[in-house]
């Protein structure tokens, strides 16, 4: 009997993302989370006689923008088809989708796997995108007693379905892909990807095979609404398929659901063959030409790739992986950091430390915790209400670099800046924190202190070779200067005085 290690899992994902628009994709009705049921429905959404769907330009442009972010081909034309099925979540008995001519073809998403430890970067790989098509979301069903209730607020919301090639080989890769995809979608302003609002849902195709063998029969687990559900589904489904095949049974191609509470999958209705949906071109929506002028205009909106930025921070600015990865995860934070570096280019690491640790901590505390599609991610912070300006932070780091205040004092000044929004220099002066770097004055104090018989023992120990004994002399000097002496300078002067 073969062991589980002989098996290779092959995963493909279909990610459904609600696009960041105000109106629906073929209708003008607004949409958004938290409205009363059926308050965001118009005759086009319901497909009432005499209505005509017209495509929302913004939804098309957001789709193209996504394609450009992942380096896809934007074809010259795209068109819409009717996918026919009877189910009450669908008011028209068909869903408008793109079957043969999608808006985005190909492309790839770079992912980063977890490293051997938190501060070591993991392996990178590219996951190919097969295509992405722009369709309408369907209504929401809730089940109550013997009946089901239908809310069509979600029907007609622009939904981009992003289909990967079967390139993922582990639950960790699936997780990494979704993290990377969410970052790219949100950083480009394509989508908000808020799981609590159901803005990102995922279907997960899993099969197993022996490495090098043809692809095995796959199952599709539908409607996963968090990264942990995708991860758990892959783990569960892999184990189940290994068990089935090793017991001499076969895998049935089937559609499955996931029960997150019980942590297990279950079989849904039989997967219908594609022709059962009786797709045909939608006669109401003409084929759309995607102009090169639009593609070129949108290409200018593509932000720097997450990992290109990370490489730049590490290679050019010399940041450690931990700080670089924290900064690039939030485009606004990264851009804020870059403005600060521009104001004080001499010490990007010093600025990165304060931004990635102190600033992020204080901003997060102001936001509180939220749960996104990625439960492991910190709450997204916004820099718009940040009391400190990038140049002000640069000013603080500059004062530290010049030895005007110590690193310890910089933390104190930072806290005050975050409270009051004042410049670092003003706070340093108001609090009288300027370090004394007047060599003449300090030399005099050093001579007075070492002449005091109370410290004679420490001096003897130091001269006898006990390095640490010198520290006992620093306290009295700090005391005489009210803590303002430059610690580095004291150390230097003491060593000189003691020979």
């Amino acid at each position: 009997m073969s062991s589980s290690s002989d098996w290779e899992v092959v995963i493909g994902l279909e990610v459904h993302v609600q696009l960041h628009t105000r109106a629906k994709v073929f209708a003008s009705s607004s949409w958004g989370f938290g409205q009363e049921p059926n308050e965001q429905v118009d005759p086009v959404v319901l497909g009432l006689p005499g209505t005509l769907p017209v495509v929302n330009r913004e939804a098309v442009e957001k789709s193209i923008l996504f394609g450009l972010v992942v380096g896809a081909e934007i074809p010259a034309h795209c068109s819409w088809d009717r996918k026919n099925y009877f189910y009450p979540d669908n008011p028209k008995n068909y869903q408008l989708t793109q079957k043969d001519f999608p808006v985005v073809i190909g492309g790839s998403v770079e992912i980063e796997l977890p490293g051997p430890s938190r501060n070591v970067m993991g392996e990178h790989k590219h996951v190919r995108i097969h295509h992405a098509h722009l369709e309408e979301d369907v209504g929401k069903l809730s089940h109550a007693g013997s009946g089901s209730l239908v809310d069509y607020n979600r029907a007609g919301v622009p939904l981009l379905e992003i289909v990967t090639e079967p390139d993922l080989r582990s639950s960790a890769e699936a997780e990494a892909f979704l993290r990377s995809l969410v970052a790219m979608l949100t950083q480009a302003g394509v989508a908000d990807c808020d799981m609590e609002k159901g803005q990102l849902r995922c279907d997960c195709n899993v099969s197993i095979r022996h490495p090098g063998a043809p692809l095995g029969t796959r199952t599709e687990t539908k409607n996963l609404n968090s990264i942990s559900s995708v991860r758990d589904t892959v783990i569960f489904e892999t184990a189940r398929q290994v068990r089935e095949l090793e017991a001499g049974r076969t895998i049935t191609q089937e559609t499955r659901g996931w029960n997150a509470d019980l942590g297990r999958g279950y079989v849904l209705r039989d997967k219908e063959d594609a022709h059962d949906y009786r797709y045909f071109p939608d006669p109401d929506i003409p084929t759309l030409e995607l102009s090169r002028a639009t593609v070129e205009r949108l290409a200018k909106q593509v932000p720097e790739n997450l990992y290109d930025r990370q490489r730049r921070y590490m290679d050019t600015l010399g940041l450690p992986f931990t700080a670089a990865s924290v900064l690039v995860a939030n485009r606004e934070l990264a851009e804020w950091f870059e403005l600060s570096v521009a104001a004080h280019p001499a010490n990007p690491q010093g600025i990165a430390n304060l931004v990635a640790n102190d600033l992020l901590r204080d901003l997060s505390a102001a936001v509180g915790s939220t749960t996104g599609f990625d439960e492991a991610a910190p709450a997204p912070v916004s820099l718009s209400s940040c009391p400190i300006k990038p140049a002000q932070l640069a000013g603080l780091v500059k004062l530290t670099d010049e030895g005007v205040i110590s690193k310890q004092q910089a933390k104190e000044v930072f806290a005050e800046m975050f409270k009051s929004g004042q410049d670092a220099a003003a706070i340093v002066d108001a609090k009288g924190l300027r370090q004394n770097s007047d060599t003449g004055e300090l030399e005099k104090i050093v001579q007075e202190v070492i002449a005091d018989p109370a410290v004679a023992k420490s001096i003897a120990e130091y001269r006898a070779g006990n390095e640490k004994a010198i520290n006992a002399l620093k306290g009295p000097i700090m005391k005489r200067t009210q803590g303002k002496a430059n610690p580095g300078l004291i150390d230097q002067l003491l060593r000189k005085a003691l020979g």
Binding site: N38, V41, G257, R269
Partner: protein, 96 residues
């Protein structure tokens, strides 16, 4: 019966229950319709995208929200409703 469709399967997908007489009638009518399309398929047509059916981006809708019907109007045209939602027989994919 023409190749390419199975009247029982089509009836099931369409949620129709048909008598044997209806099945015979609709099979014959569908055969005639499909035959017509097969005749069209023989025609010498351009294989590229038909320019007459292509629109440019100027024909698209702006992303400006318009009015909604309101839950009261939506539920009024449904056979049954409850709490502003349309009520239908239980349809579930729950774990059995």
């Amino acid at each position: 019966m023409a190749e390419g469709f199975d009247i029982d399967h089509l009836a099931k997908l369409s949620r129709l229950s048909l008598t044997p007489e209806e099945k015979a009638l609709y099979s014959s009518q569908l055969n005639s319709i499909i035959g017509h399309f097969q005749a069209l398929a023989q025609a010498d047509l351009p294989t590229s995208i038909d320019d007459a059916r292509v629109v440019r981006e100027s024909a698209l809708r702006s992303d400006v929200p318009g009015p909604s019907l309101g839950a009261e109007a939506v539920t009024r045209i449904a056979p049954a409703s409850r709490d502003g939602q349309i009520s239908v027989p239980r349809v579930v994919d729950d774990e059995a």
